[in-house]
């Protein structure tokens, strides 16, 4: 009897710790799927809570309860040589517990199937949906707005409460586009054009990331979704119809621009012009590297670092240390290092100054 009580105590302690650890631990983080700020993420989280989560709790309690009951009631006592009744089965009971999971699954399958079709619905031509092309690259994201002939990278600008249709593909390996607080994920598959439809419901800057292993720097392939009001977005579009003004001649930034376009070799892969020919097919690469137009307004650099002057300096001066295996590290920094042509401290400063003048 004593040992049975000890068992009850131990097992209920284990159970309680386990259960309580599940409460209040999710949410409040930049990528929390529970803190929905878009309709798709909200629908998904609602489906998770009702009915999936509560049915799961019911199954958990049923199975755990039965198991604990078995352990408590039928533990063999020392010296007990009794042979219990040899029950071989009970077809009616077994049919009942074949039906229980079937009913639970049906309860989940019905709302889930409805949501599958709802989430995949094209909003139609009169919905005023924004059209954006999303292109995954090792290891950064490119965003093209064919309506406006604007291309950018790293920051996806969207309008609050306005549906967006993303056409998603990749120019190298498979990536997966995932802004957790706004929507689920859709794979960026080279040669395929996937679509994703959702409506952002809050303004702000939202975190996004790659979710499919795509090589060494998979973990450093973030983006931000900047959700703006229609006016802010219109202003942003207007601004991006032409490149940022050139720096004043004679300043450090002007030296930087010369280096950028000349001996530093940046312009071989990067453009600072935000416009492109909107008839360009989605599978055609514009430039090897991300477009750097209005760079100073970007939230991240190298697809993972906060965009600060210090980080930018580090990135240009020590590319290999900051993001090894990236094209810029392999094909630019390493080659210049071999040829002893790494940029000097002043040159790096000048380029940083120039990029930070792009606003």
């Amino acid at each position: 009897m004593k040992s049975r009580r000890r068992w009850v105590a131990i097992l209920s302690l284990v159970g309680l710790t386990w259960l309580s650890s599940g409460c209040g631990v999710i949410g409040g983080k930049i990528a929390s799927t529970s803190d929905a700020a878009g309709d798709q993420a909200r629908h998904i989280w609602d489906l998770f809570l009702v009915p999936v989560w509560w049915l799961s709790v019911a199954v958990f309690i049923l199975v755990t309860g039965w198991l604990l009951l078995n352990i408590v009631l039928f533990r063999r006592k020392p010296g007990d040589t009794r042979i219990p009744p040899q029950v071989h089965g009970h077809p009616r009971l077994e049919i009942v517990w074949t039906l229980i999971p079937a009913i639970i699954l049906a309860l989940i399958a019905i709302p889930s199937t409805r949501l599958i079709f709802q989430l995949n619905r094209d909003p139609g031509p009169d919905s005023n949906a924004l059209q954006v092309q999303v292109i995954g690259h090792q290891w950064w994201w490119e965003f093209r707005y064919p309506e406006f002939g604007i291309v950018t990278a790293g920051d996806l600008h969207l309008v609050v409460d306005r549906p967006v249709v993303l056409t998603i593909t990749s120019h190298d390996v498979i990536h997966s586009f995932w802004p957790p607080r706004l929507a689920g994920k859709v794979d960026a598959v080279p040669g395929r054009h996937n679509t994703m439809v959702f409506t952002p419901e809050e303004t702000g800057v939202f975190y996004g990331q790659c979710a499919e292993l795509c090589g060494a720097q998979h973990a450093h392939m973030q983006f931000r979704v900047v959700v703006q009001t229609q006016q802010e977005f219109d202003a942003w579009v207007q601004k991006h119809r032409q490149p940022a003004p050139d720096p004043t001649p004679g300043t450090l930034a002007a030296t930087g621009k010369e280096l950028f376009a000349g001996t530093a070799g940046c312009a071989g892969c990067h453009s600072v012009n935000p416009t492109y020919d909107p008839s360009t097919p989605i599978n055609k690469t514009l430039m090897v590297g991300p477009n750097l137009a209005y760079f100073a307004e970007r939230h991240t650099l190298a697809a993972f670092l906060p965009n600060t002057a210090e980080n930018l300096h580090q990135w240009i001066a020590n590319t290999e240390q900051v993001k090894p295996y990236s094209i810029m590290a392999e094909k630019w920094w390493k080659i210049r290092a071999q040829q002893n042509q790494l940029l000097t401290e002043e040159q790096v400063n000048a380029i940083v100054e120039y990029l930070w003048s792009l606003k």
């Binding site: 994920k185 720097q217 973990a219």
Partner: protein, 641 residues
């Protein structure tokens, strides 16, 4: 041990211990070889997991670089699936199946040895990639075109993966054929299919799954090999290929693979729970048909790994429905196990602890499985730590715990000794706590948006605190496995004193001594029902105990043949002859794979094809030698002097 050696010597095996093990075709020895190879790999691949956990313990750690992390992650997954879980299953196929069906060996003893040696060489080939500084790094499912193009995965890493898996696949298919034929043809008289122990049933289903699923993987691996070596562009979208084809080929294999891994441990649970409850398995036909249903459905669910690939809403909805159907037979199994315990006399020996915990773990892994079967939820959970949590509950919680239950349960049949119960209890509780501490918080970071296969993360993500807990859990889990080794060493230092039937067992393996003699059964038993041995001991209402029946009596208490000067093999028993050929053919096969890998490198390229040729030569003449070697020794060889 000494007794066993004498017995073998008298049976005609007068060879050194090393040669003995290298040439053995005895399923019990091959089982032990499988077991220890897989346990060593479990510790190695577990060590890789701990390296990852150190790197992820806190944000922005610099313990492993991005490429090293991907290599460690890929090898952890690939090795745990193909070189730990599958071979541990194969170990128990070998250790238990012939004994449970009343057979003297498997159908093709030399093929059985070949399965082991090609598993060993193939896995060593893959491990050796670390020595050459190029381990595979595209994840255990090696998605094309990252894996299929030398542009995106330079170096021989993925070649080690591709060719190594081909060798392991041959080993698995050979093993599956062998156990399929063994179970179909070699059951003791009276053991109809529905009287067959549930573990044997699960092995039979698993063998069928392997035979049907592995060809798909093999085709895919060949296509990746062709893409990498001969620029065939199967998966290259720039030239009309499609990387998604690989995902279909892989998961048509990959989902049945999950059941290839989990059905045998489910079989072990179905043996351990009744034995330690002193009750028959509740609704055994239901459990068997649930296993068949799971296996059948497993071929219709592969695209649930691909809900975010963009197949469209109709395929997604259909594959969601078929996936949820699997929840029904799985639920049936759980309820039948719980009903088996109900009303029993439960003896919580270590094996029973592991088996009951595995039932509970399966419930959690099953619930989260239904969550990702719900397509919209999967849009968020896919490729996040939520998935990692789910499949570790199944793979560690059910598969490894089930296999650990099997270890404690059948150890007397391996070594004639019982593992220490006190150490076993510590082993169980630390494993149980470690497993939950490691894998449960992964649900939280997954829902908080942490993707899998990230070598690092920023502090601002807020994932750091749970990751620290996960790392602590992983160390508890990892270190507690050394208790198994301590237990084994301690136990093996004691005399082999286990009785034939230490657990009051229900099936035929408990009718013969622990460990069994080379020939297993002196007289092949006659089976009168499921729980064949239990019926002979206690009757079951339809049959009276065998005490009155002298024939049965003699079979239940096998003669021990300790009469000196008497031939050890009972009359009419033929044992398969030890053979070098399985080892030689496996070595040739592995040389072919190694040559192919060399061919893909810059420095050793010219050596590649000559070594492939050498491998072909060895395989060809090995098979020839195999063919002309008499499989069974002449009767005279058994007569001892």
């Amino acid at each position: 041990m000494a007794e066993a050696a004498i017995r073998l010597e008298q049976a005609g095996y007068r060879r050194s211990a090393l040669v003995e093990w290298l040439t053995t075709v005895d399923h019990k020895k091959i089982g032990i070889l499988y077991y220890w190879t897989a346990i060593v790999y479990l510790l190695l691949a577990g060590f890789l997991a701990l390296l990852m956990r150190i790197q992820l313990a806190q944000p922005n750690m610099h313990f492993l670089g991005p490429k090293t992390y991907n290599e460690v992650m890929t090898m952890h997954g690939t090795m745990m699936i193909f070189a730990v879980a599958m071979p541990l299953n194969a170990a128990f196929f070998n250790i238990a199946v012939p004994l449970m069906i009343g057979a003297r060996d498997v159908a093709f003893p030399r093929l059985n040895a070949f399965s082991y040696w090609s598993f060993l060489f193939g896995s060593l080939l893959m491990w050796s990639s670390f020595l050459f500084g190029h381990a595979p790094d595209a994840g255990w499912f090696g998605y094309a075109n990252l894996s299929s193009s030398r542009l995106y995965s330079a170096g021989p890493g993925l070649d080690f993966w591709d060719l190594g898996l081909q060798v392991l696949g041959i080993s698995s298919i050979a093993g599956a054929l062998n156990f399929f034929v063994t179970i179909v043809n070699m059951r003791a008289p009276g053991m109809s299919l529905m009287r067959m122990p549930v573990f044997v049933w699960m092995v039979l289903i698993t063998a069928i799954l392997i035979l049907l699923a592995f060809p798909s993987l093999t085709v895919g691996l060949f296509m990746i090999m062709f893409d990498r070596y001969f620029n065939t562009n199967f998966f290259n979208p720039l030239h009309g290929g499609d990387p998604v084809i690989w995902q279909h080929l892989f998961w048509i294999f990959g989902h049945p693979e999950v059941y290839i891994l989990v059905l045998p441990p489910m079989g072990i649970i179905s043996e351990v729970l009744p034995t330690f409850s002193r009750k028959p398995l509740f609704g055994a036909p239901f459990v068997i048909f649930a296993g068949i249903a799971i296996a059948f459905l497993s071929f219709f669910v592969w695209a649930h790994h691909m809900f975010t690939v963009g197949l469209g809403p109709v395929p997604n909805a259909l594959f969601a429905a078929s996936t949820m159907l699997i929840g029904i037979p799985t639920g049936v199994k759980v309820f039948n196990w719980l009903a088996t315990m109900w009303g029993g006399s439960l003896d919580f020996k270590t094996a029973m602890k592991f088996a009951s915990a595995a039932v509970w773990m399966l419930m959690i892994g099953g619930i989260t499985g239904v969550m990702h079967a719900t397509v919209p939820l999967d849009y968020q959970q896919q490729d996040s730590y939520f998935i990692v949590a789910h499949f570790h509950y199944v793979i560690f919680g059910v598969i490894v715990m089930g296999l650990l239950a099997g270890t404690y349960y059948w150890f007397p049949k391996m070594y004639g000794r019982l593992l220490d119960e006190r150490l076993g209890s510590w082993h169980f509780w630390l494993t149980f706590i470690g497993t939950n501490l490691t894998f449960f918080p992964m649900h939280f970071v997954g829902l908080d948006g942490m993707p899998r296969r990230y070598f690092t993360y920023a502090a601002e993500t807020g994932w750091g605190s749970w990751n620290l807990v996960i790392t602590i859990g992983a160390f508890i889990l990892g270190l507690s496995q050394t208790l198994l080794l301590v237990n084994v060493v301690k136990t093996l230092r004691q005399p082999a004193a286990a009785s034939a039937d230490p657990w009051d067992g229900r099936t035929l393996e408990w009718t013969i001594p622990s460990p069994p003699p080379a020939y297993n059964f002196a007289v092949i038993p006659t089976v009168r029902g499921r729980d064949a041995y239990w019926i002979e001991k206690y009757g079951d209402g339809h049959h009276t105990p065998a005490a009155t029946d002298t024939m049965q009596r003699r079979e239940v208490h096998q003669p021990r043949h300790d009469n000196p000067g008497h031939s050890l093999l009972p009359p009419g028993v033929h044992l398969p002859k030890p053979s070098w050929w399985p080892l030689i053919v496996s070595a040739g096969l592995t040389a072919m794979a190694a040559g192919m890998i060399m061919h893909g490198t810059e420095t050793l390229g010219p050596l590649g094809f000559p070594i492939v040729g050498l491998g072909v030569f060895v395989v060809f003449f090995g098979l020839l030698g195999w063919h002309f070697e008499p499989a069974i020794e002449h009767e005279e060889a058994h007569v001892s002097q």
